[in-house]
Symmetry: C2
Subunit: 582 residues, 2 copies
């Protein structure tokens, strides 16, 4: 393979000079009307470890290339690890745009970036293997993987990898709640392949309904699109599908226009129930206006080839309706390999892996888990109340005075964020209010607390604990957090910077993970988006749509995907969406 | 489905105003360095037939939406037909760019345009059915079709269509020459799906070869890409693959770089043998320089799962080599439905349908065939020599003088293009030279010819006949030609404009189809293209590459695909090709 001529080298130089290409892209896109902010930081390569010749690198295995895994890899800067990445997908996908892929508002290729491109720029010791991990052996520190392609390339290829540190970021799979027929007949919306399949099926339905010799009944059935689940994905998909139908398909398939119907089924009382009530109300109103059929309190109990059966949660009555396509978007379930691993480590009967606040899997050494396959098992204050008290009671007087408490309140808040939240609610910063709170009559508030009073003061804080949602935002922040810990591992071993160890001595190496919520979008179609930002700030309409465009463009993982996504939006705006069945 | 609000309408207006959008696109692309010439003519809709209320429209069925079918539909302007289009693909694909799709230089979506979008703008009576015709019943003027999607949408849907006029433009399928194992293990390159599958497989090979625990032998096998067939498609694919490997993949998969090998097998003595020798020599030289392994005189006799066996055409020796992927690009074969139809109409043992010079299928009324599924059976002068002579001999004198001949030479040349070609070679315009040619001694040339001498004069012209190549250019010109005939059917019935009917009375309705060759490209990779233009004008290098870009951009079927193709080229130039496996 030769072929490096002047021309190649020129192109090469052009590509490698990221600044040059960035300027060029900015020049290109700035003629459009979308302003893309970017928070992408240049990759830094630290080769400073070269002096430590005998230093044995720790073998890190990362399972998964979703939000958690990729943001970990992107932010890892220390060269003291030998990283192996294992994932059945050799790319990272910008999943929040999957609903847009289902009907061609953006193309699948525009939201994916090869993981090799992402890590190549880092000039670090990172290897990628396209394979699926099917077994984790925590005892022997091994993961077992196989390549699933059954082609002439050699059938299933199996191999095992040894690790010193394992990072599980395998995400989740769709949850069918064991509803019969869902796996066989419904479409999911978690992977790029799912989105592409949905796109083809929508066109199939329209082509099929346009064939001659069909009864109107049959055409109606074929063009009945059912979305199950009123969460953000389901709602966005229904809205996107409606736009696609109204803006593009009815023009190309005018003869079947009258038969089209979109239904959205939700088992609860409202769609988007994790959002502010104003957003829910607006969305429901808009959907009704658009002619999207909303059916609340409707639980799917069975799917057959052509019919979907639902149970009314109020009356218990079961009814059926014919459908052409069902998209199942009801939440996430656990991957079998995780279930199996949980059994091994004594985490039976859980939905996802439990980790501590440093993302370490409970009951298992050197294993971290982040993203949708894990939740942080936030330690309760009440469990540690004695330890906290004795740590604060430095002089072992059995009493805690204001100063004692003042000295540890920061560590307490860091270790037990629910205390912080509780204090924020009481609008107090230093925790003195807790002391006062122990007395019904504030005037009587003593300056000292015994263990009983201390327990009473903190009795309510644990109710503030909430599990983090299974979103891209959480997974991504966890990845960044973990990478930063790994980058400073040696330094923090020597100089721990975390809170006091209440049940031990010294300090924790790192501060625990803390999630920062930046808000959430719910695109509702027709260039209308609802945005719920921190501080209960709600914005609905076209301005939020533009905010949505800006944020999603800026959050792209590479300049290539940013360019592609923006040019897809432009293309859609000028030419509409493509309805070719490929 | 409601939802037409101001915003929708604005977008709508924006889209329907083709001029507006064109200006915008020109504005967008003109900042790049590619100048895209366009020959796309605005679609004209002729609704002038509305006065003919009782006029019964003729039912035209068009089979196929490739180059021939689509250019027919695009150019049809008469509203006196009720057109049904049947094709298993609901889009037109710009097939010359398929090799570029195999490695992501352009995206599949960028080269396809939904057939419904193409016909919608025409405001004519054209219906599309996504189905495959599996039987043509010429006797009862019926075609039988079925939709092949076996999904919950209703299994195979079958229907029959009646026609008054049938246009067969179904193209061809890859020709395996019944080589064992080809259907099972080789990749073809005729459809968009083929190109996408090749793209995935190339990445698969690289991912697979990067797995641990493989022997170097095995890695070598997996990364051995074999292209069978040294025609333009095979050569272009090999060149594109080489570029993809050198410019993109070796950077992402540095550890397997040394194992990559591309082989091109050709049964003949040269690649690109339909091109000028200078081009062939340049291409072979360039491929050798690039490290592409060329193997001439090598006929594939068998494909097994991991090995390809070839026979040396000179020595007859059979040898085998291991491979990872084979792309089969050796020419075209006949579709079963065409074979079956040929049997019906007495065209057994032919490779493709025979038509006359007006593209009418021989031995079958009201059926036209064009594109790769047909060839024009050019009538020989010698078969009609008596008829021609008697037609020319107006006064039945048994002798033809110069003026008699002069009167019919134009019609002869039109009806029998081989005469024209022969005259061109002799550099004569009026045919007198033929008269002179009959005498060895030009001085003795008589002014009159009898039938014997006339036969002698034309005896060599039939050797000038050549079948047209099975290219997009031919198919497209045939589609345009047929549409123009259909547009002027009534007019030409009354006032025939074709040549004299030598074997009958009066004139033919239309002039026969005449192919105009505009030249041919052979992209050789590394921004080098060979171009052979009419008049033996040969150009090789980067300038031809830019000509190639311009021509391919201008020949796009819609402004949407033009925009997409150009923006894909730009994207490739800046960011390289994507290697995500989707």
């Amino acid at each position: 393979m030769r072929g490096y001529k002047f021309y190649d080298r020129a192109i090469q130089a052009f590509r490698d000079r990221s600044l040059l290409s960035k300027i060029l892209v900015i020049g290109t896109v700035s003629s459009g009307s979308i302003v893309a902010f970017s928070d992408s930081r240049p990759f830094q390569s630290i080769n400073g470890d070269s002096g430590q010749g005998e230093f044995k690198k720790k073998r890190v295995v990362v399972l998964g290339t979703g939000w958690a895994g990729t943001s970990f890899l992107r932010n890892l800067k220390s060269n003291s690890y030998e990283v192996q990445v294992v994932s059945p997908r050799n790319y990272f996908a910008f999943t929040p745009l999957l609903p847009s892929v289902t009907n061609g508002t953006v193309e699948a290729r525009s939201i994916v970036e090869p993981i090799r491109s992402i890590v190549r720029k880092k000039d670090m010791d990172i290897q990628f293997k396209e394979a699926e991990c099917y077994k984790i052996d925590a005892e022997n520190k091994k993961v077992y993987c196989r390549n699933n392609e059954a082609s002439n390339l050699g059938g299933k290829e199996e191999f095992a990898l040894d690790y010193d540190i394992l990072i599980i970021a395998m995400g989740a799979r769709p949850n069918t709640f064991n509803t019969p027929g869902v796996v066989e007949y419904a479409h999911f919306l978690k992977e790029v392949e799912h989105a592409l399949k949905i796109r083809r099926t929508v066109i199939d339905c329209f082509e099929r309904a346009s064939l001659p010799n069909l009864s109107d009944e049959e055409r109606k059935r074929i063009l009945h699109f059912v979305v199950v689940g009123g969460g953000p994905s389901g709602v966005e998909f229904a809205a996107e599908l409606h736009d696609f139908v109204v803006e593009d398909l009815t023009k190309l398939y005018p003869s079947v226009k009258e038969f089209i119907k979109i239904s959205l089924l939700e088992a609860g009382d409202n769609i988007l129930n994790m959002f502010d009530k104003r957003i829910t109300a607006f969305a429901e109103e808009k959907f009704k206006r658009d002619g999207i059929h909303l059916k609340m309190g409707s639980m799917v109990v069975r799917l057959s080839e052509k019919e979907i059966s639902t149970k009314d949660t109020a009356t218990g009555q079961i009814s059926s309706m014919p459908y052409g396509m069902v998209v199942w978007s009801t939440g996430i379930g656990t991957r079998p390999v995780i279930t199996d691993f949980m059994k091994q480590i004594g985490q039976k009967n859980r939905r996802v892996l439990a980790t501590d606040e440093w993302l370490r899997v409970e009951g298992c050494e050197s294993v971290y888990a982040l993203g949708d396959c894990a939740t942080i098992n936030q330690r309760k204050v009440m469990e540690d109340i004695t330890a906290i008290f004795s740590k604060a009671d430095k002089n072992s007087t059995g009493k805690l005075n204001e100063k004692d408490f003042q000295d540890v309140v920061e560590d307490i808040c860091e270790r037990y964020p629910q205390v912080q939240i509780y204090l924020n609610k009481l609008q107090s910063k230093n925790g003195n209010i807790l002391l006062k709170n122990t007395e019904e009559d504030p005037k009587k508030a003593s300056k000292e607390l015994d263990i009983e009073k201390f327990t009473k003061a903190l009795s309510e804080v644990d109710s503030q604990m909430k599990n983090l949602p299974a979103t891209a935002q959480v997974a991504s922040q966890q990845g960044v957090y973990l990478a930063k810990c790994f980058n400073r591992m040696e330094q923090c071993e020597k100089h721990p910077e975390g809170p006091l160890r209440f049940r031990g001595t010294g300090r924790h190496r790192f501060r625990p993970f803390r999630y920062k919520h930046f808000g959430q979008f719910a695109p509702l179609g027709g260039e209308q988006t609802a945005a719920q930002l921190p501080g209960d700030w709600v914005s609905i309409g076209q301005s939020s749509q533009w905010l949505w465009y800006s944020v999603y463009a800026s959050k792209q993982v590479s300049w290539r995907t940013r360019y592609l996504v923006i040019s897809d939006w432009t293309r859609r705006f000028i030419f509409g969406r493509d309805s070719s069945r490929i």
